[in-house]
């Protein structure tokens, strides 16, 4: 039931686990995410939740570059982040949504 509601809800809450988005988004902090279906646009510097292209886990990163349908994402804390430096450019279809709060 929760998964179904999560799926259809335009805005969802995520709890962060890890330090790769320090200092702004801290370990165990929560963020409000607007689903991609309801987004007007995505811009460089937006923080997004996306599927890790390697294993499908949900991860949070900041958009560093945009190239047509591809995004290059980085963690704010680059010393403790696994991001596009490791797994390369990601497709927009892998995005879950944008952090709005």
């Amino acid at each position: 039931m929760f998964d179904f509601l999560f799926c259809i809800s335009p805005i969802v809450v995520f709890k962060i686990f890890g330090n790769s988005m320090n200092p702004k988004y801290k370990n165990k902090g929560k963020v409000l995410v607007q689903k991609k279906w309801f987004l007007c646009s995505l811009n460089v510097q937006d923080v997004i939740v996306l599927k890790d292209p390697r294993n499908g886990n949900l991860i949070i990163k900041r958009i560093n570059k945009i190239k047509k349908d591809l995004l290059y994402v980085l963690g704010d804390n680059n010393k403790e982040s696994t991001d596009s430096r490791i797994f390369g450019w990601i497709k927009k279809s892998q995005i879950i949504g944008k952090v709005v709060y």
């Binding site: 929760f2 999560f6 805005i11 969802v12 809450v13 995520f14 709890k15 962060i16 686990f17 890890g18 330090n19 790769s20 988005m21 988004y25 370990n27 929560k30 963020v31 409000l32 939740v49 890790d52 886990n57 949900l58 991860i59 949070i60 990163k61 963690g75 680059n78 010393k79 403790e80 982040s81 696994t82 430096r85 490791i86 709060y101």
Partner: protein
């Protein structure tokens, strides 16, 4: 409005999202790669000494296994430990890693002592850089393995 949003964030059910470095355990070490590279060299040497098909099959199997292990260990260092500033400070690091992976493949494809020796040498050079990034002084010492080569350790 801000209060409403804060209320939602605090009270809505949530899902986990990860912001980590593939578990940032911080435990990285070039020693397994060195042992695996020496094993590849030793197996290559043994292939010139063995006659029975059974022994050759076993030796080839171990050579394959440790060639893969060199690749895996170097991949972990490259992807999880070495950071852009390390590659900036040691401009030859990227090339060394690429060459070592190529050699780990070449030593599996053929029985070539020289390539196996080159593989050990590249892994030792990468190990030296690793210790330099840890701000300790790398030191080459005799390996005491039948390969009679060296391994890299460090002095604090």
């Amino acid at each position: 409005m801000k209060r409403v949003i804060q209320f939602l964030v605090n009270n809505l059910p949530f899902k986990a999202v990860y912001a980590h470095c593939d578990i940032p355990c911080g435990i990285y070490d070039p020693t397994p790669a060195q042992i695996a590279a020496h094993t590849v060299l030793r197996m290559t040497q043994l292939l010139g000494e063995k006659d029975s098909m059974h022994d050759i099959a076993r030796v080839v199997h171990v050579k394959e296994e440790h060639g893969g292990k060199v690749e895996e260990e170097l991949g972990t260092l490259e992807n999880d430990y070495f950071k852009p500033e390390h590659f900036d400070k040691f401009p030859n690091l990227k090339g060394l890693l690429a060459d070592a992976v190529k050699l780990s493949i070449a030593t599996r494809q053929a029985v070539d002592i020289q390539k196996a020796q080159d593989l050990v040498d590249k892994v030792l050079q990468i190990s030296e850089i690793f210790y330099k990034t840890k701000n300790v002084t790398p030191k080459r010492v005799p390996s005491l393995y039948p390969t009679k080569g060296e391994i890299v350790t460090y002095t604090p």
